[in-house]
Symmetry: C2
Subunit: 213 residues, 2 copies
Amino acid sequence: MKSKHISQSEFESFEERKRARFINTLSGFKSANLIGTKDENGLTNLSIVSSVVHLGASPALMGLVIRPDVSPRHTLENILQTKSLTINHVNSSIFKQAHQTSGRYGKEQSEFTACHLSEEYHSDHYAPFVKESHIKIALELIREIKIEENGTHFLICAIKDVYLPLSCLSEDGSIDIESADSIAVSGLDKYHKTNKLARLSYAKPGKELLEID
Amino acid sequence: MKSKHISQSEFESFEERKRARFINTLSGFKSANLIGTKDENGLTNLSIVSSVVHLGASPALMGLVIRPDVSPRHTLENILQTKSLTINHVNSSIFKQAHQTSGRYGKEQSEFTACHLSEEYHSDHYAPFVKESHIKIALELIREIKIEENGTHFLICAIKDVYLPLSCLSEDGSIDIESADSIAVSGLDKYHKTNKLARLSYAKPGKELLEID
């Protein structure tokens, strides 16, 4: 493949949307998740994000980058107000509705209704889950870190409850998110199904890797 | 699909490795990247990470979670020492070598040599790139945030230079990372190729989404 070099001065000269498309794709494939929240008055909100990241298993933590200048503004407000949120994997049956939640809906309009997705509640968790999602996680905000460099917020959240298809969970704790139909996203707007290449054994120096499962 | 509820008290009772496998998969599909670094004495290091996240396009920033207690310890030391790193997309031809870099190699042993990947240098950037990767990014450390909740480090890095296949870059700035053979990872050890479902138009309330490209 013929390689092209794009320097900082070159991509900084790109027009704003072009630059966003370019930079947004560089990190590689991203998770596609719907963040469910509800404000103190009971108004629900749903927002697609591709910035959920694993932080650690013990304690069980996830991180989440929120850009308050775009659509998840109400999401951020609700999380700061109630400390409650859900993360719901996007699957191939709902990716268009999920993408539609990125439209700039008013505070009074729930994206659940506007984008034809259904609220669901479990275990006294305040924030709503997405019924059509197959893997759903209840979380509680632990701490907000402001990223002064660009006005984004990094949220550290604790995992409280997990709901997933019984058939996707292995004895050893691993989850087959591909068979749960979870999908990946690249850039601002591309959605991808996956095909497993392999599951590999734990790496040790001087030891050959095995394909497992 | 029959759903299963796993509560916090249940997953906290899982044996350590089982719990790591379970929690690590919950965020969804992740990027698969190799982080190239070099210490002040010229010793190179290479480490696979699945925690690179897009932070913003203007300024062009990426975030990266590093767990110093496991294999990328030398990566963290080198980045703090030199401020220089590269991010290199893992593709389907090198995912086994990439996974092997997660073995606990000694400081004096370069994972480039041990895992049969090749160093490459561009544009006076101090850290090495991975020759076999198709999408490679030069970055500079801006700031380290300590995540006290679990002893991890969140690194905010500025994008300096990008190298990618000419054929993957569209006029509108978007990059086709699927045709560059970049792959996704789930959990600790599963690697996946992707198949594009669709690229969707910019979402606006009341406007129907179109498939573009």
